[in-house]
Symmetry: C2
């Protein structure tokens, strides 16, 4: 009944060596049998179902806990059967009850082929999204329709200008759902048309991405509405609709659109520093397993608190080898200005989607010109690489 | 287009007075228009869509931030139209992007009737669950089937003993989903039957609660399977399946069973102390809005870190007046022993569901006798009240 195959996870555990070792043992029980150690039946359950400490060592040097606390790196393995072949139960084993305990951070997930093959991962991934957009190499230009309160017609007019200016991907702001100001169907229809009209004039291929974060009985309905209206991508906040619902959207053949993952309501997992989930695992590995083609996150130096190291972690998580699960695009955003783009190009390189929302509107009085300037910066950078 | 009606939220903001005031203003923009202040259109958007600081004052005395940091209490109001009448978008306005910023804690939610009437809340609530169980007054006895790795038959045998011993509610451990050890349908069928058999012998009315935390395309299917098999309640981890999916389960007339909310994967919202969501709002108010009839959480003094004040916060959140949204049961659990029950009765009083899992197995060699002892403690306490 037990194959003997195991998956594992790396945890950063805060505490003295003895405390941390006790905590590592605690993971083995808490995340599986959740039963007093002395009562665990001998045999298969004790030997296989209970988690197993594969290694335990102090974190060194640059990897010291950000709070300056002593911390240890524990690799814990679990029988693949504990997951019941379910993404949801995989999350429960990795970090279910642990989320309730301080001093545990899920740093990395290591899955064998037998688990990876259960998941499709991103339908498009980096290569597929480049193909979808017809942009083989350069960084992608991404922005958002806002502010909430504008009518569908006003938002569509903005979308038209953004597309005229050469943006690649225009999404709804994540707070735009189905408000009376700009009801979903009307907004999506007008915005998709506006982008299409601009494309006919420019010869570019800009896509409109509809936010379908919604009550769970509405999500798939809106996905279909958006697709029929001409949206060429979908955005969801997986912490609001459920990570697994994002995965179902990604694997649905009738939908078949690129999925953009938005971090709203998800930040608490990474804000705790000594507790939670690493940026690498959450916005990188987990987003990929859950089917995102691009993972949006707040860039360092903007109006959010992520630092450069955390953002670089995310980039590594989007591309680290995970069997057949494709690499996805990092989508840094949040309070970025056009002035920073040249520096960010040096840091992120080519495989990035720059999300500039407010900064694009703020740069100068002419929105179309602002977009052209954004595109020019990126194209100039491409020229330097020739 | 704007009714003028507003809902509001209380935030605890960490920082000096000036910093905190800036952060309070930030909430008003970040959670609505997400746009540079100077570019927000005048008129309806600036005056109504942008959030509004209703009050701002320092936290005093016992409410000092647990980290010893200076903190301020800001009440921010938002136009009801920003929510689009959606529970999911309400969550986004309350704490979407804020989750990504340190030093903000969502302490309390204050909703007017126009928003409350959008939500059914718990189908049963405290009174309905008491009625469902036929227990008008006393605290309810709750336990879990474990450990993972046992067969469905073995788990059913344990369920039989627990029910014979006088437990009111027996749930699957939250890690039991559809593992090969005890596949969902077989487990649910055998456990429901075992509890029914015991009920016929004892004359008690114990219910079996099936864990239906599962991939999102399976949740409703398992709910129906469980109901047909005789389960008389359902458990989900809303952080895994999505809070709104729990709400949909609760309001579904074809299902119509009590919903038990499990905190797995949800702890990161409350572990951050200076950042996140309060225990009161998350396990109390939000659980109720999302349709839970009972909210399970780790009790103080067990193997988790919640303290007594945090647990008392949760109890207040389960019962605070929220229009027609009924009060629900607090379900403290997690490393509780029978020895603590007399003290906990003094603290929690009558309207509580005591969840004792491992502690019930550990108390003595005879599981049925352990259950009888548990019940006796509670019944003795009831006698003292006559």
């Amino acid at each position: 009944m037990i194959s003997g195959e195991r998956f594992s996870a790396v945890y950063r555990i805060t505490g003295s060596e003895n405390e941390a070792l006790e905590k590592a043992k605690d993971i083995c029980f808490e995340e599986t049998v959740e039963f007093p150690e002395e009562l665990v039946p001998n045999g298969m359950i004790r030997e296989n179902v209970v988690g197993r400490i594969e290694s335990f060592e102090p974190y060194q040097g640059s990897q010291t806990n950000q709070l300056g606390l002593e911390s240890y790196r524990a690799v814990i393995s679990f029988a693949i059967e504990t997951t019941a072949n379910e993404f949801t139960q995989l999350l429960t084993v990795l970090f279910g009850n642990l989320s309730l305990k301080p001093g545990f951070c899920l740093e990395e997930i290591i899955l064998p082929p037998s688990i990876l093959r259960l998941f499709q991962g991103p339908r498009f991934g980096r290569a597929g999204l480049r193909n979808w957009l017809g942009v083989p190499k350069r960084p992608l230009l991404f922005t958002a329709l806002k502010p909430m309160g504008l009518s569908a017609r006003e938002l569509a007019n903005i979308a038209y200008k953004l597309a005229l200016g050469g943006i690649d991907i225009i999404k709804d702001d994540h707070g735009l759902t189905n408000q009376c100001f700009a009801p979903f169907e009307e907004r999506v229809t007008l915005c998709a048309k506006a982008v299409e009209k601009a494309n006919q004039e420019t010869g570019y291929y800009c896509i409109y991405v509809a936010n379908i974060t919604a009550p769970s009985d509405e999500v798939f309905f809106r996905a279909k509405l958006a697709k029929e209206a001409g949206a060429r991508g979908l955005m969801v906040a997986p912490a609001i609709i459920g990570l697994d619902t994002m995965r179902q959207l990604a694997k649905n053949d009738q939908i078949g659109l690129p999925i953009f993952s938005h971090p709203a309501f998800q930040g608490s997992y990474v804000i705790g520093q000594a507790s939670g989930i690493s940026h690498y695992a959450l916005f990188g590995q987990i987003a990929r397993l859950a089917g995102a083609d691009a993972t949006i996150y707040p860039n360092f130096g903007g109006r959010f608190s992520f630092n450069r190291e955390e953002c670089e972690q995310i980039v590594r998580g989007t591309v680290v080898k995970m069997g057949h699960i494709q690499p996805i695009f990092p989508g840094p955003g949040g309070g970025m200005s056009l002035e920073r783009v040249p520096d960010l190009l040096q840091i992120y390189g080519l495989d990035v989607i720059f999300l500039i929302g407010g900064g694009l509107f703020k740069h100068g009085p002419n929105l179309i010109e602002n977009c052209r300037y954004f595109r020019q910066i990126v194209e100039n950078y491409m020229d330097t690489l020739l």
